[in-house]
Symmetry: C2
Subunit: 153 residues, 2 copies
DNA sequence: GGAAATTCATTCGTATGCAAATGATATCAA
DNA sequence: TTGATATCATTTGCATACGAATGAATTTCC
């Protein structure tokens, strides 16, 4: 029997190993791919603005003038990231910056007229981006998915 | 009546506008936040490796030696991105590179002994990362969510 | 009132992520 | 066989993303 055992062992060593951890089944990996797909769909519809830049404009439309930091909180960006986004929007004339009269630490951000025009014009495209991103799901699946996704975010 | 109409109009102008497009309800925005949360959980458990770096090691464990490009396809990274990831793993001695004997375009990537030790050591932590990322959901919700997320990715 | 803690913004360094251009090699097809 | 195509890898440029450090201004609290 020991001869057979050795033979089996030799064969097994050459076999591919069993892996019970599969990268492609992990939430993090699939979440990253789903996000990538969304960004790609976004870029196909809105080529001259990134999703973070769009988020900044859309949120400014909602809340009006706010501090750069507060805006970052609202759109889930840390201070370093939001600064870059706002800098680029400012360079394109879509937002304007001013100093807070009372609290001298704060940098106020607001839409320019051009920025307001831009975001109003882009919102219909953004609706289509959302629709296309969710296109693989039925209406009922969308409702379920959004509820669960919100719990994870 | 025209007097009343004017009064109403004046009041309405001062009211905050109704916005039927809400950024915080859009898939793309929540997807980005969910991904951010996952990366944060990942970093709390595995501080010295990023999710993409981990993905490269985990996939190399699965498939063994492959070309850099093929690896990129397997872990959803474009050629430019995967190069940077592999360069950093190589600099840390976790992967080794060699030239394909027949096809001289290809750069083969493989785990080093150290890289194999590292990924085996990290996989239990990765299981915990997955568990913690999905912690807000029940077992049944996890099954539903993963099925729907996979459809979107 | 004043020291300590907090908040806001900036800067630096590192790491994805992707489009576009380039060069080397391989494959396909006339 | 050779000319057109396609593939693999690299490089450059731009845009997030975030930790950590810094400085200025404000708030807290004793």
């Amino acid at each position: 029997m020991s001869g057979e055992d050795n033979l089996l062992k030799l064969v097994e060593v050459e076999e591919p190993e069993e892996h019970d951890y599969l990268l492609q089944e992990q939430v993090g990996f699939i979440l990253r791919k789903a996000h990538q797909r969304h960004v790609s769909i976004f870029a196909a519809h809105i080529g001259d603005l990134t999703p973070p830049q769009f988020a900044a404009l859309a949120k400014l439309r909602d809340v009006g003038e706010t501090s750069q930091n507060q805006l970052g909180t609202l759109i889930a960006m840390d201070a370093a990231t939001v600064k870059g986004v706002i800098d680029r929007l400012k360079a394109r004339g879509l937002v304007e910056l001013s100093k807070h009269e009372i609290d001298k630490r704060r940098l106020l951000v607001n839409l320019t007229a051009e920025g307001r025009d831009a975001i109003e014009r882009l919102i219909p495209l953004a609706r289509e981006i959302t629709r296309e991103t969710l296109a693989p799901l039925s209406a009922k699946e969308i409702a379920t998915f959004m509820k669960l996704l919100a719990k994870l975010a």
